[in-house]
Symmetry: C2
Subunit: 342 residues, 2 copies
């Protein structure tokens, strides 16, 4: 009574063998009406729940997948997590979530740990561009979907957004409104998404025949502030900033406010990645919006597709999702809340 009931207990109570209980639970073979009823009754009476550890050990299926995010406390990442969880639940799967803190070693360890826990597949936002230690050698036969940032290893699927063209279009928008000196601000060129968005920025700048300016000092609010101060001391300070991600946007925004720079009057601001409250700041922020939930859904669906077909060796496919330009006040154009679709 005091320890958890097992299949044996159920079998004994129902007066059948354990295989009958197993078959009843999994529907792997037919069980007669009367026996099924007895087993069902016994299960409810004992409040029996199958032990997933034993299931995973015996059968090949653990009914769980792993999700490795850089951080939890970022609405983009947790939005993805929510979408993945939802899809997994629909398939009867659990999701193990961990964080890598953008560190490839931690990422590797967490992935290994998940494999020790017999996850059937992994969804990962790889910590760094190209440098990842995740490869087929580690993963064995477990399918993996790279998310937000692709992994070159060809057997992996990946789901990304139009980083380059999204950045390109947003910078073009700034150029169209007369800006000549536009600064690209990021945290680290090592991160794939930042790199890709920088390419879009550079292309737009080049096409307009302008000069490019880039900085990767958006590590902390303080470092960002120092960087912007430097800009203000220039002979001709920049009239616009394009930021590579949410955090960079926040840091630059705060720094500009602290330094008394009026947005968009003295300097315009546009960033990559929308976030909650971006429409409630003053001024509201113009951003490139990524479909976070959609991305999560697609990634999870792709993983389950692989699991269903049981193929892990096929070459991976890259899904590129579209982004939207959300024009608010900070870019200085006259629209308000206008959403420009692909």
């Amino acid at each position: 009574m005091h320890s958890k009931p097992t299949m044996k207990d159920v079998a004994r109570l129902a007066g059948v063998g354990t295989m009958t209980v197993s078959r009843f639970l999994n529907g792997t073979a037919s069980v007669s009406k009367e026996t099924a009823a007895r087993v069902d009754k016994a299960i409810h009476e004992l409040n029996y729940r199958p032990n997933e550890m034993a299931r995973a050990l015996r059968g090949r299926r653990s009914r769980s997948i792993g999700l490795i995010l850089p951080y939890l406390y970022d609405t983009f990442f947790s939005g993805c997590g929510h979408a993945v969880s939802t899809v997994a639940k629909q398939h009867g799967y659990s999701v193990l979530i961990t964080t890598s803190n953008e560190d490839p070693d931690t990422e590797f360890n967490e992935a290994a740990l998940m494999l020790q826990r017999s996850v059937e597949g992994l969804i990962v936002i790889p910590a760094n561009h190209g440098e990842t230690r995740l490869n087929r050698a580690l993963l064995g036969r477990v399918p993996l979907v790279a998310f937000d940032r692709p992994i070159c290893e060809p057997a992996f699927d990946s789901v990304v957004v139009q980083n380059e063209s999204g950045a390109l279009r947003m910078v073009e928008h700034l150029i169209k409104h007369g800006h000549k000196k536009i600064f690209f601000m990021g945290m680290s060129a090592k991160v794939y998404t930042v790199h890709a968005r920088l390419q879009g920025y550079l292309k737009a700048i080049a096409e307009a025949g302008l000069e490019s300016y880039e900085s990767f000092q958006c590590q902390t609010p303080e470092s960002t502030l120092q960087e912007i101060e430097k800009h203000l001391r220039m002979k001709t300070p920049p009239t616009a900033y394009f930021t590579s991600n949410t955090l960079a946007t926040r840091f630059v925004f705060t720094a500009l406010l602290q330094l008394g720079v009026r947005i968009p009057h003295d300097a315009a601001l546009a960033g990559f990645d929308d976030f909650e409250l971006a429409d409630l700041t003053s001024p509201s922020l113009t951003v490139v919006r990524q479909p976070a939930q959609e991305m999560g859904r697609v990634a999870a669906s792709q993983l389950f597709e692989r699991l269903k077909r049981g193929e892990t060796g096929q070459p991976g496919c890259r899904t590129v999702l579209p982004v939207e330009l959300v024009l608010r006040r900070s870019c200085g154009c006259e629209h308000e809340g206008a959403v420009v679709v692909q």
Copy 2:
């Protein structure tokens, strides 16, 4: 070669028995220097990792705990998740994270699923006040820590903040600045925290000899807007709002802006629960700040304390953490960013 190496493979390669490998890994008994070296070499050579499923099945320890949150995409919750993960990692544990969507049934199912996965303990933000179906009958011998909202069941630990006195102090602050008609705005009186904060509001109102006004229409942006519109048509509209949580604050804030109510000139606003960007809105928001990370740390520590001592039957203790009043612009007082500590 193609399937994962097991302890047997390691043992064979090192020329020892499996128990020696097990002892080496777990340090449960002494192993001679030379043998240890051979085993270590074999482990690295095969890139062996113990199968956690088998470990959990055989031993009693699964080295994992479960965390059940209402949602992921809420910085308060994901902040807690981060703190819990960090503490767990320090203890060598993994964390299984799921969401209840504030639904007691889902919560129950998720908890049961986690027990099927042999988690050694649970940290839960219970979905509803009092109505929870989580009880010792379900949980058997697994310790549980209730988080943010207590569970009455006496054997459970819980970690909460000063909901009532925090609300009381904030409302007193509003009263001190001359407000006579202060509206309490929440999403649902069923949620423990909302209820507790309402009590604080009511106490402050009563002590000042004022009349109380409460609404629980902050379910969606639209319903909130309609509610505020009603207020504006009153003979004497409220001069201040106190909101029960992040979402309510956001909805009320947006609604007031949309309706052209100037904050804090026409109506002051103060809310419970701080969030990122609350200082970047216009006006910046005055809030009661909860120590989310600290709460997560304490809850996890408490759980591991129980696990270490192996006692699950002892009566639970309730830890109450202090809150801070963060006075910004929206309440209309003259401070800026001043933090009043308890």
